[in-house]
């Protein structure tokens, strides 16, 4: 069970059970929907950006432990960051999942997902929603397309 332990690290199990920022954001000026139709994971993301800084961020939705914890940890990680810094974190997270070095801080907890290719899309979904929200892309995002 070592590798399962690496996937379901305590921090992930904790954020799954008690997701942070699991709420709508009053005065949100960015929004995105994420949906993986085949597996059913769903996220609705609110962001309030002022002067290039993420002043508040929250999410709602349903999904597996990986997707819920990823969304929770993401909101914690980008809260108070500039959009440029958030984009940098997106890149670092994405790089980690595709074989690169660990992402900073608690995000490193998701390094274990690499060994579970079927679950990468779960860890990714909220991050792609974030990018869509920041870039004001109206379309719902998905991380399920095999071309991704």
């Amino acid at each position: 069970m070592t590798d399962l332990g690496e996937l379901y690290q305590q921090v992930i199990l904790d954020h799954n059970r008690n997701p942070r920022n699991f709420r709508t954001v009053p005065g949100a000026n960015r929004h995105a929907e994420g949906y993986n139709p085949l597996c059913g994971d769903r996220i609705s993301l609110d962001v309030r950006v002022e002067d290039g800084v993420i002043q508040d961020v929250g999410f709602q939705g349903s999904g597996c432990a990986i997707s819920k914890a990823a969304a929770s940890l993401m909101t914690a990680a980008v809260h108070g960051k500039t959009t440029a810094e958030a984009n940098e974190l997106f890149r670092a997270f994405h790089a980690m999942l595709t074989g690169g070095p660990n992402a900073p801080g608690k995000l490193a907890a998701f390094a274990g997902v690499r060994a579970f290719p079927a679950r990468v899309k779960c860890a990714n979904l909220s991050w792609h929603a974030l990018r869509a929200a920041l870039e004001k892309i109206g379309e719902p995002v998905t991380t399920e397309s095999p071309s991704d």
Binding site: C39, G63, C64
Partner: protein
């Protein structure tokens, strides 16, 4: 019960390990594994008889045509079809139902008409009817299910009051395991003046099908769920209906004469088999049917119900497990949830122990909404599964419970 030791020996993939563990394949409702006899039949076909059929005057082509048509004969016998020409080869259930919606549906459904499906139908038996209704200005009516996961017969009756043109329902639900009273539903549909379309995807692999006894108008199934290769399947239909229907795919094989601006059609079933037929699929389906008939479909059904009973009994002993579907009249499909562990997490955790189950909406989103869940986990059995597989399932589940801190 079947002699699973000898059955398992026929399936090369079951000798494979998954993550260092014996492969415990419990996703049979999604697709089945293939016995050596089916794979050998396919190889043999390509090694000795491969050619395009029906149009060849040389030996190879005659052999290929005979192999193809022997597959049709086997299917006709397997489901007790009205005649050989009642069997139209398709890629599988989805294509079969789309064929009916496109050909019979477009010809017969008018604005204002009704089409009835059930809330336990697979997307493949819902979406084609939605598309048809949207195109024709008809209305789709979804029959509700009971608390314990059966078709609500009084709602079914109410739906029939509007005199629908088409009534579609599954023989066996892939998300609940319910075995529906298809002969009765067909009788009611006919009394209301509708044609009855039976989605047999979860029935043909698992129990003895008799389309004449059911008296349905259309019966669809997939070969890949019953030991045959992917890309195999059929639509069985009453010949008189097929005669009257326009063709589906235009192209080779299905024509009688082609003029510059119009064409006339070949006899049934060829009218519906445009393009080069998939001889491999027919050969593989024939071999799969021979394999199943040697076991005996009654024994197959019995084996799977027995496994389902054992699985339900064991799973019920785990405090936080909820099982979906009716107590009786169920096939070897066992859908469940385990506390608040998401089914995808369950599937990942079980996979580490070599146990393959499905997690998700199982292509039945309207049903999931009614069950009030986004997803369930599902174990589904076939001829090679045994009680050891259930043990493996249960012990892997207990590990998941530990990891997530859910009461066992």
């Amino acid at each position: 019960m079947l002699d699973t030791v000898s059955v398992r020996a026929d399936f090369p993939i079951l000798a494979r390990e998954e993550n260092g563990k014996r492969l415990v394949y419990l996703d049979n409702a999604a697709t089945s594994q293939k016995p050596r006899k089916v794979l050998d039949a396919i190889q043999h076909y390509y090694h000795f008889h491969n050619a395009n059929v029906h149009r060849g005057a040389y030996t190879l082509a005659v052999e290929a045509t005979e192999a193809y048509e022997a597959g049709r004969t086997a299917v006709a016998g397997f489901v007790n079809a009205w005649a050989r020409e009642a069997v139209v080869f398709t890629r599988g259930t989805t294509e079969s139902i789309n064929l009916v919606a496109s050909s019979w549906g477009r010809t017969n459904v008018q604005p204002g008409d009704r089409v009835v499906v059930t809330a336990m139908d697979h997307h493949s038996n819902i979406v084609p009817w939605q598309i048809l209704c949207q195109e024709k200005g008809a209305t789709l009516r979804m029959v509700e299910i009971t608390e314990d996961g059966r078709i609500d017969l009084s709602d079914f009756g109410r739906a029939l009051e509007s005199k629908p043109k088409i009534v579609a329902f599954p023989y066996v639900s892939n998300s609940l395991g319910t075995v529906n009273p298809v002969a009765q539903l067909t009788r009611l549909a006919h009394a209301a003046g509708a044609v009855a379309v039976v989605d047999g995807a979860q029935a043909a692999p698992h129990l003895r099908v008799d389309v004449q006894a059911i008296d349905c108008d259309f019966f669809a199934f997939s070969g890949h769920k019953m030991l045959a290769p992917m890309g195999s399947g059929a639509l069985i239909a009453k010949p008189a209906l097929l005669e009257a229907m326009p063709p589906y795919h235009g192209g080779g094989e299905m024509i009688e004469r082609v003029w510059d601006d119009h064409a006339t059609w070949n006899k049934i079933p060829h009218k519906f088999e445009g393009g080069t037929p998939n001889v491999e699929a027919a050969v593989g389906l024939g071999a799969a049917i021979a394999y199943l008939e040697q076991l005996g479909m009654d024994r197959v059904a019995e084996h799977e119900s027995a496994l389902a009973r054992v699985a339900i009994e064991r799973l019920t002993q785990i405090e936080s497990v909820t099982i979906y579907g009716p107590r009786d009249h169920r096939a070897g499909v066992v859908p469940f949830t385990y506390g608040d562990i998401h089914p995808h997490d369950l599937a990942t955790i079980l996979d580490r122990d070599g146990v393959c189950i499905r997690a998700g909406h199982h292509c039945t989103q309207p049903l999931m909404r009614r069950l009030g869940v986004a997803a369930t986990a599902r174990a589904s059995f076939y001829i090679y599964n045994d009680v050891d597989d259930i043990d493996a399932l249960v012990s892997a589940l207990r590990k998941a419970g530990e990891l997530f801190g859910v009461p066992a």
